[in-house]
């Protein structure tokens, strides 16, 4: 599975949706993922890719990690995975 598919699978599971319902343009709000769901998703992604995502729930916009939609999240993870390699 590509990084894209693996991230979408994690987000879909958190949102209790089918992966096909999660599009790159979806925002977490669209998907019904609240702040707790977001923190859980980030944890699941960190575990899946063995990476550390810089994210503080108190200042999501100040974190060096864009969570504005699914495409942004995937791009951020691809960058972190590349940096790790």
């Amino acid at each position: 599975m590509s990084i894209n598919d693996r991230v979408i699978a994690i987000i879909a599971e958190q949102a209790v949706l089918e992966p096909s319902d999660v599009t790159p343009e979806s925002t977490l709000e669209d998907l019904g993922i609240d702040s707790l769901g977001l923190v859980e998703s980030i944890f699941a992604i960190e575990e899946e890719f063995d990476i550390s995502i810089p994210f503080n729930a108190n200042e999501p916009e100040a974190s060096d990690f864009d969570i504005s939609n699914v495409a942004a999240i995937i791009a951020g993870i691809e960058k972190l995975v590349t940096e790790k390699a």
Partner: protein, 402 residues
């Protein structure tokens, strides 16, 4: 109904090993938060906390006691000694039979769990010390205080996360007020600053890596602390009869449950606890001069708490002072309300309002007088102290100048 007064106070926390040292630090706006020091701290993303330093348990407790006292119990006994010594109360006969100890803690013997899990999981050992259970249990501290001071009345531990101490003190207050107990030893303790204790909090992603800046627009989370606060709550007539020095009066409390979310605070739940405490004490909102805020330094708490204060106090919200001493001693979780009660006593007794330090930038969502960075002299008659826990469980106490 009996009137209830506080006749003794004790503490140990990152600001000091006694009440005078702690109050001096609060007056000076000193910060007790610094680099954490314990095993495996390099594996943490959060490396700061309000750690108690220079505490030599070995000199205070003997070998046998050390095998039974987790650090949270050591803190409790240290604070209890100061409080009971100050109070001058001695528990004998009927007074001992009816007086008890109610304490708050969220985690109990966290470092005992941590050390022994490490021993069996990481080091592969198959045997632990026989006293692991009596050492880590949440009621260990309350039980050791009862044994040390001959307290034979109602004694137990309350565990409601960050509101544990306030719930415990509210229960102790209601027991003395009702006449069920002539005196109660109460407060709380926490010692979670070990690898497992901080790692668990790290997971929530609400911790700051650099400082606790409650109400400041650039706040970025909470910082853990550790320590204990213990008080003697006593029937006013009993205290007067024995000529005890009265630190302040406890006049009311309220508890509420948000029944909404396991971590997000609720304005309504917080407001109901504050207005309930005023109603219980028979006070008007405009009599309150100071609120010791829950003020964790998270985005969610501080704006919710300020909105709740504005809702309960109306225009008077702009006249009263509200500060968060967590900026100095960190968040003591289950022990936090007890250490923060000291700031209320200082405000009522000494006329000094402890500051919110680390305040750098005004936040329109927290537009109250948060006593930024420097303590202030002010004569006040009534103070409230807030605690709003994870799980949506809230407890607020109201205190009056003696």
């Amino acid at each position: 109904m009996k009137r209830v007064v506080i006749t003794g106070a004790g503490t140990i926390n990152a600001l000091g090993h006694s009440v005078p040292d702690t109050l001096e630090a609060m007056r000076e706006g000193r910060c007790g938060i610094g680099e954490l020091e314990f095993r495996d701290v390099d594996r943490l993303a959060i490396k700061i906390g309000g750690q108690v330093r220079g505490f030599e348990a070995e000199g205070r407790f003997n070998r046998q006691q050390m095998t039974l006292y987790d650090r949270f119990t050591q803190f409790t006994l240290t604070a209890a000694k100061e409080a009971i010594d100050q109070s001058g109360i001695e528990f004998h006969g009927d007074l001992a039979a009816r007086s008890g100890v109610v304490l708050g803690t969220a985690g109990g013997g966290v470092s005992t769990w941590d050390d022994n899990y490490r021993s069996v999981y990481e080091d592969g050992k198959n045997r632990v010390h026989p006293f692991v259970v009596p050492k880590l249990m949440n009621n260990a501290a309350a039980s050791h205080v009862s044994m040390e001071y001959n307290l034979k009345g109602p004694s137990f531990t309350v565990s409601t996360a960050c509101a544990s101490s306030n719930h415990a003190m509210a229960l102790a207050f209601s027991m003395v007020r009702s006449g069920a107990a002539p005196a109660m030893v109460t407060g709380g303790s926490e010692s979670m600053l070990c690898f497992g204790g901080v790692k668990a909090w790290e997971g929530l992603r609400v911790m700051s890596k650099d400082a606790c800046r409650p109400f400041s627009a650039n706040r970025n989370g909470m910082v853990q602390g550790e320590g204990a606060g213990v008080f003697v709550f006593e029937d006013y007539d009993h205290a007067r009869a024995r000529g005890a020095d009265i630190l302040c009066e406890v006049v009311g409390f309220a508890m509420s449950s948000d029944a909404a979310d396991i971590v997000m605070p609720s304005k309504q739940g917080a407001a109901r606890a504050m207005s309930g405490a005023l109603a219980d004490a028979g006070l008007n909102a405009d009599q309150v001069g100071y609120i010791n805020a829950h003020g964790t330094g998270t985005t969610a708490n501080d704006k919710t708490e300020c909105a709740a204060v504005a809702g309960v106090f109306g225009p008077h919200a702009d006249d009263l002072m509200i500060s968060s001493t967590k900026s100095m001693h960190g968040h003591l979780i289950g022990g936090t309300g007890a250490v923060e009660l000291l700031a209320c006593i200082m405000a009522l007794r000494d006329g000094v309002i402890a500051p919110t330090i680390g305040y750098e930038e005004a936040d329109p969502e927290c537009a109250l007088d948060v006593v930024p960075n420097e303590a202030r002299e002010a004569k006040i008659d009534v103070a409230l102290t807030n605690a709003f826990a994870f799980g949506g469980l809230n407890a607020v106490l109201a205190l009056r100048r003696a």
